[in-house]
């Protein structure tokens, strides 16, 4: 399953719920305001870093760049993809679940 999360973990419980209910081995792609969840050094970062062995995390590069975070340090192991990479992730997984 590919999970997409588009909400800031500093504002809502969306990413937290996704990580609670996603099965180990799932991919989690952070898009839109969800990309703040990929930042190192925020109050939400530890919760993500703690699950790096359970999930493969991706973050959408164009959304990172839009928010001025292209040079901000991301949590180790999070892979940056573009929209083409987003398409590939959907194709590679059997289904997508959007956490809104």
């Amino acid at each position: 399953m590919l999970h997409t999360v588009n909400k800031s973990p500093l504002e809502r419980n969306t990413l937290e719920s996704c990580m609670r209910l996603a099965k180990a081995g799932s991919a989690i792609l952070l898009i839109e305001d969800g990309v703040y969840g990929a930042l190192r050094g925020t109050r939400a970062a530890d919760a993500v870093a703690a699950r790096m062995n359970d999930f493969k995390f991706y973050v959408l590069g164009p959304d990172v760049a839009a928010r001025g975070l292209s040079e901000a340090p991301l949590i180790d192991g999070i892979e940056v993809v573009d929209y083409g990479g987003f398409v590939d992730l959907v194709a590679e997984h059997e289904a997508q679940q959007a956490w809104l």
Binding site: I31, E32, P62, G84, A91, Q96, L100
Partner: protein, 119 residues
């Protein structure tokens, strides 16, 4: 691969429609098929042809309509959600059609993947 897309939000207010559009464009560039984009909830507002963004801003209604025409993408606006929100044939942008929620379920059945964008 054959994709269906669900868009739950209108243009501008949430990024959902932008993200869905960028996704659709990238998928087509990679040779995938978008069999249908279904617009539900406030997503029906993407079909309002009166939308007139500032000159230096993107025009999502036009972008969707062009994508539909150039790539044969079926752009379906949910009739129930649209009636509530005042999206009717009078103001329906070219490339869109109004139909029932069954078109969403069908997209889920027929496509290889249904991808959801919302708020």
């Amino acid at each position: 691969m054959k994709f269906g897309i669900l868009v739950n939000e209108g243009p501008f207010t949430h990024q959902a429609s932008d993200s869905a559009y960028q996704f659709a464009k990238a998928a087509l560039e990679k040779g995938h098929e978008i069999m249908r984009v279904f617009f539900y909830h406030d997503g029906v507002n993407n079909a309002n042809k009166l939308s007139e963004p500032q000159a230096d801003d993107r025009n999502l209604v036009e972008l969707w309509g062009k994508l539909g025409e150039e790539h044969g993408v079926d752009l379906v606006v949910c009739v129930a959600a649209a009636l509530r929100r005042g999206i009717k044939d009078d103001i329906l942008a070219p490339g869109f059609r109004i139909s029932g929620l069954g078109q969403l379920i069908e997209a889920g059945i027929v496509s290889d993947r249904l991808v959801v964008f919302g708020d």
